[in-house]
């Protein structure tokens, strides 16, 4: 017992000397779930920049978003929080804000003019009661279509610009023995494809009414039925092996010239890069729809509330590092996303990222993602309805709309 006390007293004194002697030695423990190869390379950009600025980065990566969030929230509630922690842009940290567990960073936001340099959907998803409570670090587009340039060139076709065009050229490709659409046939990817069709064919307003306000009126419009029927026609454009497939296996079908098109978020770019392919050369990316609207989400960092002056200074330094133009560019190059600041020069990024940036320049093209708009209860019920419709070729559009109506009623 006495031995133990002595040891801990010794450690404590050493720690005190260290912390008082070297204030520049700011130690930041960062909790996140970026564990795949591309992701950890991207988070290393922040770590290196922070080290360069004189801090010490302690990396605490926990595999799996849900696991990481549970671990982090438990530590905050238990009074031993990390210095900063990752969340997805959206509703995930609502309760932390309402329980005063995270720090308000509105002073930094005002100084950095975040409200002017970031897209409005991202700002709205991060601000609570008029104040910033998190720092957005990137923007992911969720409704990209990746396509194999060689397949389209060989078939003498142009990549489709609208969904009716897509169904038409899809049939032609199918006749040639090519898989028109590579789909990871798991309910959430089927739902992601449906959302791409809704925002691309139905438009941004329909998307917001369906996932945001959730009033059944939108379901009665002829345009919605047309959209649903179009989505139904796409059932014939996937291969029989699609059900149950992982999304990265679906991406691989495009990489290996077996499939022509693939709908996914821009994180799929990592797969193409890992296969040694270049955007605009072996594969292309585009947003399908009359006017290209991009459904956006992303990642944010929150800063657990603390009274410790050193910790506060460390957090301030971290915020600077996160939004520094150089780290923004380098981080997002590796992550596949684009900088959350619209005022940085993206000319060094790949063509997909540049396209993303230029689409988002016009605020009318920014559409907030389902994660920002809907509670998980509703998006889950929607997912059940979509996967039933998608996997059952005999199900009519009306029956599907009926299912969405009851999902809205039950889970609204």
């Amino acid at each position: 017992m006495s031995m133990k006390t002595r040891v801990s007293a010794y450690t404590l004194s050493v720690a005190l000397i260290w912390s008082s002697g070297a204030l520049a030695q700011q130690k930041a423990e960062v909790l996140h779930w970026w564990t795949s190869a591309g992701e950890s390379a991207s988070v290393k950009v922040f770590a290196d920049q922070f080290t360069k600025a004189g801090g010490t980065w302690v990396d605490n990566a926990i595999a799996g978003g849900a696991n990481a969030r549970t671990a982090g929230i438990n530590r905050m509630v238990g009074g031993n929080p990390p210095t900063m922690m990752q969340f997805n842009t959206g509703k995930q940290f609502d309760e932390l804000v309402s329980n005063d567990l995270v720090r308000d960073v509105d002073a930094q936001a005002k100084a950095g003019k975040w409200r002017e340099i970031m897209p409005k959907p991202i700002v709205d998803a991060t601000v609570r009661e008029g104040k910033f409570f998190a720092v957005p670090v990137n923007i992911h587009g969720q409704n990209w279509m990746f396509y194999n340039t060689k397949i389209f060139a060989d078939a003498g076709l142009e990549p489709p610009k609208t969904f009716p065009e897509l169904v038409e050229s899809g049939e032609k490709l199918k006749a040639k023995g090519i898989i028109p659409i590579a789909l990871g046939g798991q309910p959430n990817w089927e739902h992601n494809l449906f959302r791409a069709v809704v925002v691309g064919h139905g438009g941004a307003d329909m998307f917001r009414q369906l996932y945001g306000t959730r009033k059944p009126d939108v379901l009665k419009s002829p345009k919605f039925k047309e959209t649903v029927e179009l989505f139904g026609k796409m059932r014939g454009l996937v291969d029989p092996g699609s059900p149950g497939r992982n999304w990265n296996d679906a991406t691989a079908l495009v990489i290996t010239n077996k499939a022509a098109m693939h709908f996914n978020g821009d994180w799929a770019k990592g797969e193409f890069i890992a296969a040694g392919q270049t955007a605009g050369k072996e594969y292309g990316c585009t947003v399908v729809g009359q006017e290209p609207k991009l459904v956006i989400g992303g990642d944010v960092f929150v800063f657990p509330a603390t009274k410790d002056k050193t910790a506060l200074a460390t957090q301030d330094k971290l915020i600077q590092v996160l939004l520094d133009p150089t780290s923004q560019i380098e981080f997002n190059k590796k992550k596949g996303s684009i900088p959350v600041r619209m005022d940085v020069d993206v000319s060094s990024m790949d063509t997909c990222a540049q396209k993303s940036h230029s689409i988002l320049k016009d605020p009318a093209n920014q559409v907030e993602s389902m994660e920002i708009l809907s509670p998980p209860n509703f998006s889950g019920a929607m997912q059940d309805a979509v996967t039933q419709y998608w996997n059952n070729p005999n199900m009519s559009a009306d029956a599907f709309i009926e299912k969405i109506t009851s999902a809205m009623r039950d889970a609204g």
């Binding site: 889950g380 996997n391 009851s406």
Partner: protein
């Protein structure tokens, strides 16, 4: 006799008979107390808590209001829950009967004093040492039309061969049964084999003298003797059916569509992914009621009635 000699030393302290009984039983009671507390608080307590929550409108966090049977009426018009319920009946019936039949045949096969018995026993029992996740992923690859069996046979020249159960809405649940059988049959074999080894050799000799065919001895003499082993196997397999979750998640993720959804997955998804505690606990309560109503007659026959007869 024994009890008298044990009691004797404690006599000098005096006291009534009940006091003495309390004294001798106290250590046992203390030793059992933690277990009893865990059963009462954790198991029974959580069950009651779950049932209570199923009558509330709880979403992300538990909320103690009262909405009556609203969650249940939502549950019983929910396509996904109804599919889950019918799937678990199909899976349960085929899995338990299949495991018993295959397990028994394997046990009989091994019981013929074949050469390399140890090897066969290990091979048949081996799948049981795999987790359901590994089993599910392996069978997913094997049954995938573009990667596994179908492709293999087609590559051998049979172009028209089709085996797409895994991606076929009507047949997908049977692929789960097949994977389950592969996993569980070995254990049933081991249990029944232990029973077969316990059958008295004289019975076999007697049957041989009477000229009874071997298969007849197995079905009419040996099988009834194995009843306790069969009951053990059924109980073990049934728990596997009720908690069926990881196999489905690894193999089909409930798809194609909702064709292979099961009740445990419904509960998990609604509790932890969809922030819908009310609906999730209602489904869990229905599962509990079903299990209890299946177990109750068996418990009655096995434990309650015999005692009643003695008394």
């Amino acid at each position: 006799m024994d009890s008298i000699s044990i009691r004797a030393p404690s006599m000098p302290s005096g006291g009534t008979k009940t006091q003495r009984r309390v004294k001798t039983r106290l250590p046992a009671a203390i030793a059992l107390l933690p277990t009893a507390l865990i059963v009462l608080v954790v198991y029974i307590g959580c069950m009651l808590w779950t049932v209570r929550l199923s009558f509330t409108s709880s979403t992300l966090l538990p909320k103690l209001d009262w909405v009556g049977l609203a969650q249940y009426s939502r549950l019983f018009v929910n396509d996904r829950f109804l599919t889950s319920a019918s799937n678990i009946i199909i899976f349960g019936a085929l899995f338990i009967s299949g495991c018993l039949i295959i397990g028994f045949l394997l046990a009989v096969f091994i019981d013929q004093n074949i050469r390399g018995e140890g090897l066969f026993r290990t091979v048949f029992l081996y799948p049981y040492s795999m987790s359901f996740v590994v089993t599910g992923v392996a069978w997913q690859w094997f049954l995938n039309p573009g990667l596994g069996l179908q492709k293999l046979v087609r590559d051998m020249g049979f172009e028209s061969f089709t085996f797409d159960w895994l991606v076929n809405q009507r047949m997908a649940i049977y692929t789960i049964v097949v994977a389950g059988l592969w996993h569980g049959a070995g254990l049933t074999m081991a249990i029944l084999l232990a029973g077969l080894r316990g059958v008295d050799k004289d019975l076999w000799k007697a049957a041989k003298i009477d000229g009874i065919p071997t298969w007849r001895v197995y079905t009419s003499v040996v099988l009834p003797l194995l009843r306790p082993m069969v009951v053990t196997a059924v109980v073990l397999l049934t728990t596997g059916v009720v908690k069926l979750y990881d196999l489905v998640v690894a193999m089909t993720l409930g798809g194609p569509g909702i064709a292979t959804e099961v009740p445990a997955k419904f509960v998990m998804d609604h509790l932890f992914e969809r922030n819908n505690i009310g609906l999730g606990t209602a489904a869990a309560t229905i599962m509990l009621i079903t299990v209890v109503s299946i177990l109750a007659p068996w418990v009655y026959v096995r434990y309650v009635r015999p005692q009643g007869r003695h008394a």
